[in-house]
Symmetry: C3
Subunit: 207 residues, 3 copies
């Protein structure tokens, strides 16, 4: 029987796989070579957690400590390359999977940061870094302005989910339930943003 820790670990691997697929697809749009695709997939999937670990001086960095992450990423990116030779990428399914990946990374990022830091503001920021920096590096390497700086409710969803997760810890709810509710906030905000095209106001300056 799976305990809640095993389920969190499986969710984490799922998040890594989803982000690797999103990285591989972005790389495909820039017509990189096969290894370039795998590199972008790796960076997208581990960039957020690696940045968090370096900032918190948490060593060994998570994917150095456990190679399962790299294995999952490589398999996911090779699968993506193979699959998209014959099929269109299932855009809608990927958006939902990406929302789930963001939710997992964010709440697990908050949990990991709590082990070493007590300041709530820092925990929320590290959670958002865990969820979003991989995609940000993916976009920088693809020579694009990072989507998370422009896109409808992405980093916002991570900040909100991490905040709710921390607030729930002040209640007497079961810790596992806190995790699930924190993730649901992220997923709900992302899917609502996609469905109704919600976005934060833009800030536009004349040159």
């Amino acid at each position: 029987m799976l305990g809640s820790i095993d389920i969190l670990y499986l969710l984490d691997l799922f998040g890594v796989a989803v982000f690797a697929i999103s990285g591989a697809l972005a790389a495909g749009r820039k017509s990189l070579d096969l290894l370039g695709v795998v590199i972008i997939a790796v960076v997208t999937a581990v960039g957020g957690g690696t940045t968090r670990d370096l900032l918190l001086d948490r060593h060994p960095v998570f994917w150095i400590a456990d190679s399962t992450y790299l294995l999952v990423i490589i398999i996911a990116s090779l699968f993506t390359i193979w699959y998209t030779q014959y099929n269109d990428p299932p855009e809608k399914a990927l958006l939902i999977a990406d929302a789930l990946g963001l939710a997992v990374f964010t709440v697990l990022g908050a949990q990991i940061t709590q082990e070493v830091v007590s300041n709530k503001v820092i925990i929320v920021i590290m959670a958002a870094i865990t969820g979003t920096v991989g995609g940000l590096i993916r976009d920088v390497l693809s020579n694009e302005i990072p989507l998370i700086l422009k896109r409808d409710i992405y980093a916002t969803a991570a900040l909100a989910g991490a905040t709710v997760y921390l607030l729930l810890q002040l209640t007497t709810l079961d810790p596992t339930l806190n995790i699930i509710l924190g993730m649901l906030i992220v997923i709900g905000l992302r899917l609502a943003a996609i469905q109704w095209n919600l976005h934060l106001p833009r800030f536009k300056l004349e040159d």
Copy 2:
């Protein structure tokens, strides 16, 4: 009464605020959303000191150790967004403020590095990294070639100010005076470069 350490701390917060404003304005020119603007402001303001702290293995990183920095940045960027709805940014005042911010970051960066490293070349480089890397990351995220690699006497001013600051330590001058003189070198060079459009020679290769 404020001691010299308090004044340095206030100057540091001033530098952080100025760099946050410059980040927010750069973000506005790319029409990012509100959170994107705050993210760019944070990265611009803390990027240099964070890079220094990571390279020197100095933990906790300064803004993780003291959240006042983040608070100042968030206030400064929200103020910028609000202010520029009704007014043009005061370009000239900002250039002067930016020169002051560069001066503060550079000399305080040198001082912090001296606590852990004795090699003078490394101290000067870490001082320049503290002063310039935030703006460099801002430009990379905005999908531009970093200004400091092209612009008139910017990193140059930081290197010169840090060098003078270290040289003055060989004299019997008061340490506080060394700090002030180091900063004045940076400010003087920057303002002279702006006033008379000074720049280093360009290096131009044919493709």
Copy 3:
């Protein structure tokens, strides 16, 4: 008489010089100022090893521990600026020198990583990071999609060389010979790729 460690050190300095030259030339194509050129040269030459050291928590970072690296980089980039005022860059010689630099960085990167990590996959990846990340940062700062993500057998050569170097350690060959053979694999693959225009298949998605 030089021992094998001294020769490795000299090779390492050679690699640093070659990468600094490649950085300076890339900067020249973007018409940066003189200090901008030196900054790009430094980042290209130390970016890979610095990333490796940060990820492995290996402090002090190699160029902070030994300023000879910076000295070599600054001399190499100033020489490049001076030389190209009067001559075309010797493209062919540079490609060969770059292959040698990649070989040195990769195998020495593997060797250094082995001192702190036993997992072979991580060692191979850190070797490739040591060899390629400097060039990747150079391209990001030059506002280009990194060449190593697109170019014929570059990161691939690093991965192959590091893998062969590790496999040879399972044999009874002399350790110095393993180093040489690992480097020859990298050099051979790079030169073959240049000579016959070999490249990995591209992965191209429709937008």
